[in-house]
C-alpha cells in the first residue's frame, strides 16, 4: 500500500501544494460568487500571469526534459512542437491534428536518427 500512495510526506505535499491551492479558489468563488467582472483589469492580469506560468512549465518540460523525453535530442523536441503548432493553425485550430503531427515528427525523426 505504501508503494501505491508513497509516504505520508508525499501525501502532505499533494494536500498542501496541490489540493488546497485549487480548492480554495473554487470555494472562494462559491462564497464570494457575485459581482466579479470577468473583463476587469485585475482578472486580465491574473489570467495573463497564469497563462505565462503554464507556458513556462511547457518550456521547462521541453528544455529540461524529464525521464524518457531526455533521450530525444533538443532540436527534435523543439521541431516537433513547431510542426505541431503549424498543423494546429492550418487545421483550423484542431488540437487533435496538432498533437498527432507533433508526435509523428518526433517519432519519425528519432527513427531516422536511429
Amino acid at each position: 500500500m505504501s508503494d501505491f500512495i508513497g509516504d505520508w510526506h508525499a501525501l502532505l505535499v499533494l494536500l498542501l501544494a496541490g489540493f488546497l491551492p485549487n480548492e480554495s479558489w473554487r470555494m472562494l468563488g462559491l462564497w464570494l460568487g457575485s459581482g466579479v467582472d470577468e473583463e476587469s483589469d485585475l482578472l486580465v492580469w491574473v489570467r495573463a500571469v497564469a497563462t505565462a506560468i503554464l507556458a513556462g512549465v511547457i518550456a521547462q518540460i521541453l528544455v529540461v526534459p524529464p525521464g524518457a523525453l531526455a533521450s530525444i535530442p533538443g532540436p527534435l523536441r523543439y521541431g516537433a512542437v513547431v510542426v505541431g503548432f503549424a498543423v494546429f493553425m492550418a487545421a483550423r485550430r484542431s488540437i487533435f491534428f496538432g498533437v498527432a503531427a507533433g508526435e509523428i515528427v518526433m517519432l519519425a525523426g528519432k527513427w531516422w536518427l536511429g
Binding site: W25, V36, I58, I95, F96, E103
Partner: protein, 254 residues
C-alpha cells in the same frame, strides 16, 4: 472543432423527472464532445510525467481526482520533479489556480434555483475546471434548471473517472514501454497544453503571455534562482498585461 449534435431530451421530456436520470444523462454527455478525447490524451501525458518524475501511481491518481486541474498538476509535477521546495511549488500552483475563481463565479448563476443551498453546490464547484466550464455553457441551457446540479455532477464524475483511468494508463505505459515510445507519451503534455492554451486565448494579453512565457523561461532559468517559473511567469504575464493596456488605451480605435 465540429459542433457535435447534442442529443439531450427536450426540456419537458419524461427523462428529466428523476435526478438519477439527469445524473446519468450528464455522465453520458462526456461522449458528445471532442474535448473528452483531448482530456484523455492530456491525462495519459500527466500519468507518464508522474512516473518519470518519480511519483507513485496512487499519488498520481489521487492528484487527478482531488486537484482536478491539469495545468496545476503539471506545474506541481515538474516543479517538484526538478527540485523546487514545497513552498515554491505551492506558490506557483496557487497563482495558476486563480483562474478557477472566475470560472466558478460564472457557472453558479446557471446552476442555482431559489431553493439551492451552498452545500449542494460544493461538488459541482469541485468539478469546475476548463473542460467542465466549457461544457456547462454548451449543455446547461438544454437541461431543466432544477436538474442542472444532478446533471453537472454526472458530467463531473464521468470526466473525473475517465481522467483517473487515463492517468493510470499513462503511468503504466511510461513504466513499460520502450524508451522512445515512453518519450512520445511524455511529449503529449507540452503539445496538448500548448495547443489547448492557444485555443483558449481570448484576448491579446493571453497571446502575448503565452508566447513571452515560453521564451522567457529558458532565459530566466539560466539564473538558477529556484523560483524561475514564478519569475518568468509574473514578468511575462505583467508585460502581457501592459501590452493589453497600451493596446486598449483611450483614443485608440478598436
Amino acid at each position: 472543432m465540429v459542433p457535435y449534435p447534442v442529443t439531450l431530451p427536450a426540456l419537458d421530456a419524461q427523462q428529466w423527472h428523476s435526478p438519477t436520470q439527469a445524473f446519468a444523462l450528464g455522465a453520458r454527455s462526456i461522449f458528445t464532445t471532442i474535448l473528452t478525447l483531448v482530456l484523455f490524451v492530456t491525462y495519459i501525458g500527466i500519468g507518464a510525467l508522474a512516473h518519470d518524475t518519480g511519483f507513485s501511481l496512487g499519488w498520481a491518481m489521487a492528484s487527478t481526482a482531488f486537484v482536478w486541474a491539469g495545468p496545476a498538476q503539471i506545474i506541481l509535477l515538474s516543479t517538484l520533479g526538478s527540485g523546487a521546495t514545497v513552498v515554491q511549488a505551492a506558490i506557483a500552483v496557487t497563482v495558476s489556480a486563480i483562474r478557477l475563481f472566475p470560472m466558478v463565479v460564472s457557472i453558479l448563476p446557471m446552476l442555482r434555483t431559489a431553493r439551492t443551498t451552498r452545500r449542494q453546490l460544493l461538488l459541482p464547484a469541485h468539478f469546475i475546471a476548463v473542460t467542465l466550464w466549457v461544457e456547462c455553457f454548451r449543455l446547461l441551457p438544454q437541461v431543466p434548471r432544477e436538474r442542472r446540479i444532478a446533471f453537472t455532477n454526472g458530467l463531473g464524475i464521468g470526466l473525473v473517472s475517465m481522467s483517473v483511468t487515463a492517468t493510470l494508463i499513462g503511468y503504466q505505459l511510461a513504466a513499460s514501454l520502450p524508451k522512445t515510445l515512453g518519450a512520445a507519451i511524455l511529449m503529449l503534455t507540452p503539445l496538448s497544453f500548448l495547443l489547448s492554451t492557444a485555443r483558449n486565448c481570448r484576448q491579446l494579453a493571453d497571446v502575448v503571455a503565452l508566447v513571452l512565457g515560453l521564451l522567457l523561461f529558458p532565459l530566466v532559468s539560466l539564473l538558477q534562482t529556484g523560483v524561475d517559473i514564478l519569475i518568468s511567469g509574473v514578468a511575462a504575464g505583467t508585460i502581457a498585461y501592459g501590452v493589453h493596456r497600451w493596446h486598449d488605451r483611450p483614443g485608440q480605435a478598436a
